[in-house]
């Protein structure tokens, strides 16, 4: 655990900035380039960097698999659910006009929520894919393929 | 050797046939074809056709007769005859010899 001291320190220093950048991309998606997909990937990159330096086990301690699966599901629900809310408000699916006092604001809120959902789902999915590959036990011999 | 076509049976048949020959005169001749009205034509048909038929069949037998297992031992002819399906019959028969 004492190798690569510089790497470990630098990685720890970088992590908050990566996550912060991800959040920037996330929330500025409707003004500048970016949005949920990109933000999610950047967010996941932070976790992956952590795992690369500190080992997958450490990552799994931080975000257990159950949490990842849950986050994926919640993200998707947030995305789809926002549309459903507008159904209950008497509009068509994905029509967010009534989420706030006036339609323009409503649309904005809707998009923000949807993007948040996408961000969470993508971040969780990316991390989950990485974890799945990195922790896979080599349970198949070469001959079996 | 044949126990059933005995002399009395033959004589009985002959008597019936003779009666029918006699009855030939009662016919009123209403056939569709002229030869139907020839005397005793039906007697002749019965007798001759029967004989010829049997002789031809015997001839045919020379050509086409084969042993029972000709089509193999799993063909229907070489199998024992059925009882009554899968339910065993009340076997009361005695095989010959």
């Amino acid at each position: 655990m004492h190798h690569h001291l510089i790497l470990r320190v630098v990685a720890k220093l970088l992590l908050p900035f990566i996550l912060l950048y991800a959040l920037y991309v996330q929330w500025h998606g409707d003004y500048g380039p970016g949005g949920g997909f990109q933000a999610g990937v950047i967010f996941a990159v932070g976790f992956i960097l952590y795992a690369l330096v500190y080992g997958v086990d450490a990552l799994v301690r931080v975000v257990p698999r159950g949490v990842l699966v849950g986050a994926m599901a919640v993200g998707l629900l947030l995305y789809a659910g926002t549309g459903v809310v507008s159904l209950f408000l008497g509009l068509d699916y994905l029509d967010y006009s009534r989420l706030a006092h006036d339609p323009v604001h409503g649309q904005e809120w809707g998009i923000l929520l949807v993007e948040l959902g996408v961000g969470i789902a993508v971040a969780a999915a990316m991390t989950a894919i990485f974890v799945a590959f990195a922790t896979r036990e080599p349970d198949i011999d070469d001959e079996d393929w | 050797m044949n126990t059933y076509i005995t002399k009395p049976v033959l004589i009985g048949l002959a008597v019936i046939c003779a009666t029918l020959v006699g009855a030939d005169f009662l016919r009123d001749g209403h056939g569709y074809f002229s030869f139907e009205n020839w005397p005793l034509i039906y007697c002749a048909i019965g007798f001759v056709v029967y004989g010829v038929l049997i002789i031809l069949a015997k001839g045919l037998r020379v050509l086409i007769e084969r042993p029972e297992n000709y089509y193999g031992d799993l063909a229907i002819d070489s199998e024992p005859e059925p009882g009554m399906g899968p339910i065993a019959p009340e076997k009361s028969g005695v095989p010959h010899d």
Partner: protein, 502 residues
Amino acid sequence: MIPQAIISQLPILQVIVPLIAAPFCALLGGRNRAWALAFAVSLVTFAISAMLFASTLDGTVLSYQLGGWAPPIGIEYRVDALNAFVLLIVSGVGALTMLYARESVAYEIDERHHGLFYSAFVFCMTGLLGVTITGDAFNVFVFLEISSLSTYALVASGAKRDRRALTAAYNYLIMGTIGATFFVIGLGLLYMITGTLNMADLAHKLVEHGDSRTLRMGFAFIVVGFGLKLAMFPLHLWLPNAYTHAPSAVSAFVSATSTKVAVYLMLRFLFTVFGFSIPFEVDVLRTIVLPLALIGILAGSIVAVFQEDLKRLLAYSSISQIGYMLVGITLLTPGGLMASIIHLFNHAVAKAALFMVAGAYVMQAGTSTISDLRGVGRDMPFTTAAFVVGGLSLVGVPMTVGFISKWYLVQAALEQGWWPVAGLIVLSSLVAFAYVWRFVEAAYMYPTPDGVIRREAPLTMLIPMWIFAGSSIFFGLNASLTSAAASRAASGLIAASSLIWQ
């Protein structure tokens, strides 16, 4: 009884009900909870599609605009007689397979993966329903990917029983992705010409645009892309392994729906979007698709005859059956189209029953190898009887649905004067009889091997199996409902295309 507000939302509910339910399945985890939710959702989905079907049978076209954006810009869901019919097939098969899945999945999948499995299953259903219902060409791609990705996962989950499921899923992934990519490339080319992605709008603008090299390229890419997705003859190579090694419930569901949905897409794009406004489109169908379909019909059947594994046999038979549908399309006549559409339904019903039977064998006998299933007809009489019914339908014996579709197809081929095609169809029925008979012979004519104990499948598997088997007889006897729907759908397609009918 049902508020008008909900009725008007039916098209979107058809897709979002399973879409919302899928993540909940993953969250619920444990076996029965996830299954119960999935089953409940599939029933609701079925009810929705039944309502849609009922309200479009008279020729009404329902249109739903997502987010309140008008069609050429926004996404439009458009339900007409054709896709309502396909929706009904997908959701019906989905609901029954879900019932079937409970025991079968409990046997074939690890308990801890059940949540994810059902989640993927419901996602797959979402994707297929979405592909079918949408009227937006790019939305088709999105849902196509949703259904394909979840299918890859579902196929791979067969790895507990057979490791080869992983390679099968991988191959399927590569091929499926190429197919979808081809579709997107084709779509991109069309977008270049027209600047729109709405199908109705595309159709309109393509006619205005007339012939061009870009259009031809787009057409070629889209046809080959769908050819992959629906397992057209030389592009079918992913199918046998995927169907063989997938878990049984997945085999049943996917075989009955996913290629059917691809056929539907093919129909939709050929007739509604392209509409045969240029002769090249007809040429491609007649000179490339038709011969391949014919080869596929025969080769698929012949290969099936030699298979050792029941699921594999069924998979190859699917390839041949898909050939029938393609032949029906290439006839380009109302009769041929109708034959294709009705076969879509008929084959889904019969194949679902057959794969369910194979799954029941996998569960109760531990194998789907034909030689290991000798004498199974006595041990599992109801299951095997369902196989016989489904098999007869594949052969096309009268009083089964298979007969109905073959009848229409042969009639349509004769109408065009395509005698050899009609002859080939009849001939392939004989080959189909050979492969069905192979299994029936093994199941009934041989004694059970010593020491093998097999019990009849549980009721939750028998019921869906027999619903399919029963409906393949019912609709074989009384084809008025299916043929009415199919002919309505066919005439809708023809009205949309610009072919001039003799």
